[in-house]
Amino acid sequence: MKNFVIVLFGLTMIHVSSTSRIEAYVKTLAMQGILLFTMVVVDNKDYFGLNFLFLVIETLVFKAIIIPWFLMKIIRKNEIFREIEPNIPAFWSIVISSLIFGFGFMLSYLSIILAQDVNPLYFGISISTMITGLFIIITRKKIITHIMGYMMLENGIFLLTLSLINEMPLIVSLGVLLDVFIGIYLFGLFFNKIQATYEKTHIDTLTYLKD
């Protein structure tokens, strides 16, 4: 069951790198939140501990509901619906995303040989998700897509923390939540300011400062 959920998570990243509709990105983020919630619930030994409750709230409430709702609001208000001219064509986007998956799995194969204390499927898919999130940030032009690529990077990091054999201390979960929540809040704030100032949401407009 767990393996199936993780593979589905990996498939969502392939879906993201091949689509150009921005609402699809947001729905993928919500889907990833729900998948992470499933993994947290299935994985845990002690229910009703503070750490477990915190993780449940973080995945189900923040990642699956609040943040996608917030992003949808921004998209609908600014009427950005399509990512029309990404930096590379969509076909090569999906090719490179598959290669990133291959690389991630090679890394996890190395980890089986050289170190034995992590679930290799978790590790491979989380590294692949992180690099694919970075790839989406690099190859897309709209700022809102950059923000969503950052969210996927965070989801990959969260998946990596879930794959630890020993428990991470609570303070680090707090750190992840701080990162995500305040980050999104500040991103949204700045995004509205950029929208108000520039009236366009391309990063092509953010090229004034250069040498």
Binding site: I157, L164, M168, G175, F187, D211
Partner: protein
Amino acid sequence: MIPMLFLYPVIVSLILFFINSKLINILALLGYSAIYLACTATFFFAPAEFTTYFKTDTLNIIFIAILALVFFGVAVYNIYFSYHSNEIPQRHTRYTICFLLFVCSMTGALLSTNLGLFWVFIEATTLTSAPLIFYDRTKSSLEAAWKYIFICSIGISLAFVGIILISMGSAQINSLYFADLYANSSKINLFWLKLSFPFIIIGFGTKMGIAPVHAWLPDAHSEAPSPVSAMLSGTLLNCALLGIIRIYKLIDTAGLIYYGKTLLIIMGMISLLVSAVYVVKIKNYKRMLAYSSIENMGIISIAIAIGSTGLFAAMLHTLAHSLAKASFFLTAGNILYKFKSKDINNIHGLLKNDKFSAWLWVLCFLCITGFPPFPLFLTKFLIIKQMYVSGNYVILLLFVVFLTIIMAGMSVSVFKMFFSVEHHHHKHAPDKNIYDLFAYLPQCVFIFILIVTGIYMPSFVHKLISLSSKF
């Protein structure tokens, strides 16, 4: 004494939020910097500890001292800056609150004994300094603030990945305290440690400003108001440097020292290359200072990687660079206020209009590029000597070539500004008053400290630096 450093900003911020007065803001900032200096002085006599999370030791005492000095100078300059800034009191209050919280989070990062807590505080510095960059509310500062917050957030996330990988490798130790990690470094699985070090270097290197993850630095440091630029360049880069040093020490005790050195030298060399390429034809003098920061962080990385005498040189370079760069940025603020332009070609008649700033400008330049008697000459000399002694001739050659190019590029711009003559007299002389003293006082004090350190280092300074270099 440590709780005072944390309580003051939090409480005073709450108070300032309800009182919207510029004068109270300025006094609050000055008060905090005075308390900071006093606490730092007590740290010299006895190491302090507050719960198990915050502790001063031989490594971070020097960083705290740098932070205290630079913060005091910037708080004094802030009097001049706030007096001449035309913002409404609410915005100025927001600026002061963010400033206080920014210094508080840097303190937390420097003092923390736990890797996870260190990461949380570095994240907090990003979040609290972003509104500071956006103080001017112009289009370009919005762009700079967005780049800063986005790139630094990505970098911090990658640093978090590195922390997770270290935690995976140290599963038997099951703790993220630095002391525990150092003590049990033989039990760490080397594969995970090796995999995590690039993530840590790239992650914390993004905050530190070494290439190739330096992209936010020129924009943020040039668009921020001058006191903020001085703080960012003089103190924030050091906090990230502390993180890299601590993990480097872990790599060293685990036996992967050659791997760590290679990575640090590569990043340092790329920083020097990037800085050399961009600083030669620079048009904006504040960006020139920012590229100089990148160069100096590269030099520090190379110095740490070279080892033995290089470590002493790295610590001295940190101290001297922070003081010199802070005074450089504050002087740039003076010039910006007088001439209202960041373009080098628009500065005419500097010597005639503002003699003191002009001479400070040249003195700071001499200090930053390592002329004797300033201590940066000493550090570069020690690094070159250590490179020669240990036989790294190629690195030595590249190092010297890049430094020469950078010095040449900067000197063209600096002296163009110093010597350019006004063709027609502009009437842009604001009336002089007592607050102008504060525009020059911090820089003079910093340069005096630097001259003293360069000519004849007092023994306690020498002891401080050599103790910290034995990490």
